[in-house]
């Protein structure tokens, strides 16, 4: 196994994802198999290759300037319409700091 159960739980913590024990074991096996396949990237020589973070074509086609003009925002009511717990014009969340 490339990946320990402890590592799976650590990654789930980083991702803010609660997993059942069954899920931890399933993902440990799945990720292990997928990472085994991904290992083949070590076969390919990438020395001197610039990483490609974005699709690139001539700059004239991707110029991203736009006029700096004000446009009306959604508005608080609309922005909050899908919130599970809106209140007083804000998104409400459980208490963060205990007094």
């Amino acid at each position: 196994m490339k990946l320990t159960e402890q590592e799976v739980r650590y990654v789930a913590g980083l991702a803010n994802l609660s997993l059942t024990d069954a899920e931890v074991h399933k993902f440990q096996a799945d990720l292990d198999e997928i990472l085994g396949h991904i290992d083949r990237l070590n076969e390919i020589d990438t020395a001197g290759v610039e990483p490609m973070a974005q699709v690139l074509y001539p700059a004239a086609d991707t110029a991203t300037w736009r006029d700096d003009r004000e446009v009306p925002p959604l508005g608080t009511g609309t922005a909050l319409a899908n919130a599970p717990q809106p209140g007083a014009g804000y998104f409400k969340v459980p208490k963060v700091i205990e007094r």
């Binding site: 990946l3 590592e7 799976v8 990654v11 789930a12 980083l14 991702a15 803010n16 994802l17 609660s18 997993l19 899920e23 399933k26 993902f27 799945d30 990720l31 198999e33 997928i34 990472l35 396949h37 991904i38 290992d39 083949r40 990237l41 076969e43 390919i44 990438t46 290759v49 610039e50 990483p51 490609m52 973070a53 974005q54 699709v55 690139l56 074509y57 004239a60 086609d61 991707t62 110029a63 991203t64 736009r66 006029d67 959604l74 609309t78 922005a79 319409a81 899908n82 919130a83 599970p84 717990q85 998104f91 969340v93 459980p94 208490k95 963060v96």
Partner: protein
């Protein structure tokens, strides 16, 4: 009037000859689609009010003697990852089961301005992650050509609606093949335009360096017209390209004589024999039409799946971080603390495939692994793009299969995520390179399952891609 065979042109003729009004057609199309839907689960919901409102506007324009627009009155299905103001948009996820978007995607605005009538929202894999439509929180879609088989994914509902005849046009989204593969499985046309050709404003983000909105239709001409409507610069999407949008229908001249096509040998290795035979016959057809077909090599192809499943999951783990129980409708009842709310909302809300990809993406970006995985994958991506750039100095377009096999059975691959990922091998390369590519029907297997031929072209060379697909379509079905 047979709703199953409507095209943009036949709807337009009917409207202008006053054979039917847009409102009458829309009522009929909604009734038909609602009646047929239980056999496929292609639509998650219908939007009759909105559809009838758009149709009424089309009728008003015709009554005033104005041009009703290039998509006037045509029934359209929209994948449920594309935002529609006031019409629930779930992304196939339990997390967004009640989400009502406060604005329209730019593609939606343009489509309706052109007179297109949105009948409803179509089923898809959760957050567009999947190749079979089995990852929807609202049940799988069945392939209209064989109800025991998948329609492909992730735009499975859009492809199934077209094949079933319950829409004449559709929008899908493609990150690794999610438009082309279901188009291939359902025997319809699916287009992944050049990266940046269509604004993604209002497309729910999965992997931002790979995401596309793509047109789907039953004919190449209709797909070309739909792309012409939705393409073009949008100030609301900084990645949308400035390049002017040509009239794609001008390319549909049937003349492909002398076009040079590359057949990449790496794409012919793992095909089932029937798929291989149909693709060979398709290539013969193009040769007969006057194309010069030559063998080419795209040597980095074998690394594409590994490269893709690092980049796509890394970007997804970041994009999906926003579903935290604060803003988007669903919050776990077990939310005593802030961090507990995050973890439990996401643990209860996401389905298995989304969790698997979030885990993989988080892992490859985590401390100590970033260089070995993410940075390495970005370099391999550059090599894949370089393969295509080199090929396009020799050939005008590339032809290949879309999928190694036709539609598989429901449940057949669901327990083997790696096998499911490997089946994307021929479609993810086009997304990684950002080039335009499409699936066009290339005959059926003995069991009646459609197989798609893929055509890939240079950045912004949709005209030659459509020219080839249209000539191929006109040459008639392969037997």
């Amino acid at each position: 009037m047979d709703l199953r065979s409507l095209t943009i042109a036949t709807v337009r003729q009917g409207l202008l000859a006053r054979t039917f009004s847009a409102v009458e057609l829309t009522r009929e199309a909604l009734r038909f689609a609602e009646a047929e839907n239980s056999s496929t689960n292609a639509y998650l919901r219908f939007s009759p009010e909105r559809a009838l409102h758009t149709a009424a506007r089309v009728d008003e324009r015709i009554a005033r003697g104005e041009d009703p627009g290039p998509l006037a009155g045509v029934p359209v299905a929209v994948k449920d990852v594309i935002l529609t103001e006031g019409v629930r948009t779930t992304c196939g996820s339990r997390l967004l089961a009640d989400y009502i978007p406060p604005y329209d995607a730019t593609a939606i605005t343009r489509l309706e301005q052109a007179g297109g009538v949105i009948l409803g929202k179509t089923n898809c894999d959760e957050f567009a992650m999947g190749s079979s439509n089995e990852n929807s929180a609202f049940g799988p879609v069945r392939n209209p050509l064989d109800p025991h088989r998948v329609p492909g994914g992730s735009s499975g509902g859009s492809a199934a609606a077209l094949a079933q005849g319950t829409a004449s046009l559709a929008l899908g989204s493609d990150t690794g093949g999610s438009v082309r593969q279901p188009a291939s499985f359902c025997g319809v046309v699916g287009v992944t335009p050049t990266y940046g050709r269509v604004s993604r404003y209002g497309l729910t983000a999965f992997a931002s360096s790979l995401d596309h909105i793509g047109p789907m239709a039953r004919t190449v001409r209709d797909a070309a017209i739909l792309l012409g409507v939705i393409a073009g610069r949008d100030p609301l999407d900084a990645t949308s390209a400035e390049a002017p949008v040509p009239d794609y229908t001008k390319a549909l001249d049937g003349n492909v004589n002398g076009l040079k096509l590359g057949l990449p040998r790496e794409y012919l290795k793992d095909l089932t024999s029937e798929t291989g035979d149909l693709i060979s016959a398709g290539v013969e057809t193009l040769r007969r039409l006057g194309c010069e077909v030559r063998d080419i090599s795209l040597p980095a192809t074998g690394y594409a799946v590994a490269c893709y499943y690092i980049i796509a999951t890394a970007e997804a783990s970041s994009n999906l971080a926003r579903y935290d129980g604060v803003r988007y409708t669903f919050r776990s009842r077990a939310s005593g603390t802030l961090s507990g709310m995050y973890r439990n909302t996401r643990g209860e809300g996401f389905g298995a495939e989304c969790k698997r990809r979030i885990m993989l993406g988080t892992y490859v970006l985590s401390k100590g692994y970033y260089d070995a995985y993410y940075l390495k994958a970005q370099k391999v991506r550059a090599l894949i793009a370089r393969d295509f750039a080199r090929a396009f100095t020799e050939v005008d377009a590339i032809v290949a299969p879309v999928s190694p096999f036709p539609a598989f059975k429901l449940g057949e691959k669901v327990d083997d995520p790696l096998q499911m990922y490997l089946s994307d091998i021929y479609t993810i390369t086009g997304d990684l390179a950002g080039i335009p590519c499409m699936s066009v029907p290339c005959g059926k297997t003995a069991a009646g399952l459609p197989v798609g031929l893929q055509i890939l072209a240079r950045h912004f060379d949709e005209p030659n891609m459509f020219r080839l697909a249209d000539a191929f379509e006109r040459a008639g079905p392969i037997n």
